[in-house]
Amino acid sequence: MYFIQHIESITHQDSFQKENIWNELKPLAAGSELISPDYKNYIPVAALRRLSTILRMGITASKACQEKVSTEFDAISVGTALGCLTDTEKFLVTINSVSGDILSPTAFIQSTHNTISGQISLDLKNHAYNMTHTQNALSFEVALKDGLLCMDEGKKSVLVGAADEAIPFLERLRGNLIKTTHPFTSGATFLVLSDEKGNGIAHIEACDVSFSSEDTETQVARFLSSNNCTFQDLDLILEGSSVFESKAKKHVSFPDYSGYYQSASAFALHLANDWLIENKEAQTILIINNLEPDKLGLTLIRRNEVEA
């Protein structure tokens, strides 16, 4: 079993270290900002100065997860769609404006996608399996699938997460390249998968990804039936858009709360987990990540059984 032992999110919602993130949840207003925790509690001030938002979020959410579980992670799997955009852009500006041979390497060093997972391993002094996945809007799901695979291979406590950060430049790509009406936002969600239930409420039943032009409804139907499930069994559908609204008992389009970043389906998993806290009868939730055409991520979440 893939129990969600703990989950943390830093987003434009007040979602960090909350009992239930639905309590503070509001539809995003235009111009909303990232609600940053006090990073100083997790990152030394001297180091903090040099870290971009995505690194701050990733390290802080991971450390908050580590604090809540007793075991050291025996694998770390991180997904990011566009990676460290702030440092990438900063270094692009530097190489186009600084003449001469002396360039500061900091932005370059911090521009690679695996800086997030690398910094996490450094901060936690963790020598375990360490992986960075990047697959556009499916970046979280491919990282999650690796985490599930690690569990199948016998690992006991796996940190899985996703992070992406918005930069103003993205606005220039709205419309033609990035088709969304939601504001561009930043966010990170990290969770601990465990073979033990702990105090957790839910587990991941299955996760699948596909890069395909096949009709989405056919793919969703096949996924549900291979997991012995029908739309009737789903207490909530969290979706990247609202194609499946009519098929759902209860439907939430998660970008309404997360805003648009390509790994926002990780936040949808946090929404799913916490939704089970209040809705005591609810058992099963499906996340349909159809943020981008021809890509589909499907994650099935179930409530943990309570022993008599």
Binding site: I76, A81, L82, G83, F91, L92, V93, T94, I95, N96, S97, D101, L103, S104, P105, F108, I109, Q110, S111, T112, H113, N114, T115, S117, G118, Q119, S121, L122, L124, K125, N126, H127, A128, Y129, N130, M131, T132, H133, T134, Q135, N136, L138, S139, V142, D146, L149, D152, E153, R172, L173, N176, L177, V209, S210, F211, S212, S213, E214
Partner: protein
């Protein structure tokens, strides 16, 4: 259950396919020379002479894309040659890249900074994930497509993930490897780190000063035994071991004692069910930076003790091809297995004083080589090792 390699493809500055690559390895001919593009002309690089447009033409590619994607398509197409798509054989693709489509987006962005109109459509090629989607499309592969971005160990990690996906039964066949095209961004990045050597790089040499960058792609096709019954493919090699460990020492530097390297080599041996004495050749990461080669040497000494097998770095041939290196060097490893070849560590003269390790100096064939171990280490402390074995 064994994981078999049933296809391989490679492009780098020493050759545009497997055959040319073997000829270059045999003749001990480096692909590194003074750069010919505006952003490489000041450096010694292992660059592929063709422009992006020329690559599309020359290799009859169907898509216009970034250099990283184009090089990936070329190597992946060669690897997949003779394989056919079949709905009954679930085929995935995992590619590693560090720079993604930067070579085209940096041109657009430069125009933007200069206040010119930048072609916004160029940015479509930028995401690393897009490069893999484009490579998959070129082969007609859909379903599971993924990109690993762990800097210089990306391809090795893709190979490893592919094997694990097959073992878990999620895929029947998978195309794995890595690709990175040279870009201004990468050249300037490594320049800012001040780890270039103005001369030809000298891995494992006492006088080594740094690396030469290169570009290219290397891909393998992996299948299970079950799948091979249906595809009737002849295996080129067995992928017998793999491991990934984190050095957790420094964002860019390796730990002096080679802790992560030691973990990843030991881990791969354990997966393969082999002992150090079984390894007949080590294809080292050996970037020729003072730090990597010393750290890796210590790791090798820790794992292999006093009986260190023949080892070498082939970076003197290709330059450091970053995310592609693990894929390119996996192809080198298979060539070594099937030709009984020991690959030379070009430009080596003088052993590192502290370790005294002497790598393979000359190319030779007809050696007994059953198992080779290949290292790929990346920034962020991402250390990976794979083991390839003779069928």
């Amino acid at each position: 259950m064994n994981i078999y390699v049933t296809g391989y493809g490679v492009i780098s500055s020493i050759g545009e396919n497997v055959e040319e690559t073997l000829l270059a390895l045999r003749s001990e001919k480096t692909g590194i020379k003074q750069g010919e593009k505006t952003y490489t002309e000041r450096f010694k690089v292992g660059e592929i002479r063709w422009t992006n447009d020329e690559l599309v033409q020359r290799f009859a590619l169907t898509q216009d894309a970034s250099r990283t994607a184009l090089l990936g398509m070329i190597a992946a197409k060669e690897a997949f040659q003779g394989h056919t798509l079949d709905p009954e054989i679930r085929t995935g693709l995992i590619s590693g890249t560090s720079v993604g489509g930067m070579d085209v987006s940096e041109i657009a962005y430069k125009g933007f900074l200069a206040g010119e109109t930048d072609d916004l459509d160029l940015y479509r090629n930028h995401p690393s994930g897009t490069t893999s989607e484009q490579i998959a499309k070129e082969l007609g592969i859909d379903g599971y497509v993924n990109t690993i971005s762990t800097a210089c160990s990306s391809a090795a990690n893709s190979i490893m993930l592919g094997a694990r996906m097959l073992l878990s039964g999620q895929l029947d066949r998978v195309v794995v490897g890595g690709t990175d095209g040279l870009s201004q961004f990468t050249i300037s990045g490594f320049r800012s780190l001040m780890i270039f050597d103005d001369e030809w790089c000298r891995p494992f040499d006492e006088t080594r000063k740094g690396l030469n960058l290169g570009e290219g792609a290397g891909f393998l096709v992996l299948e299970t035994e079950e799948t091979m019954k249906r595809t009737e493919k002849k295996p080129l090699a067995i992928l017998s071991g793999w491991s990934n460990a984190s050095d957790a020492y420094h964002q860019t530097a390796s730990s002096p004692e080679g802790l992560g390297a030691t973990f990843s080599m030991k881990g791969a041996l354990a997966v393969a069910g082999l002992v150090p004495d079984d390894i007949d050749y080590i294809n080292a990461h050996g970037t020729a930076t003072p730090n990597n080669d010393l750290s890796e040497s210590h790791g090798i000494k820790t794992v292999f003790g006093s009986s260190i097998p023949p080892f070498s770095s082939t970076k003197g041939y290709t330059g450091h091809t970053l995310a592609a290196s693990g894929g390119i060097e996996a192809v080198f490893g298979i060539l070594a297995l099937n030709n009984g070849a020991l690959l030379p560590n070009l430009n080596f003269k003088q052993a590192i004083e502290e370790t005294g390790l002497v790598p393979v100096k000359n190319y030779s064939e007809g050696n007994t080589i059953k198992h080779i171990l290949s290292n790929s280490f990346g920034f962020g402390g991402n250390n990976s090792t794979i083991i390839l074995s003779k069928v």
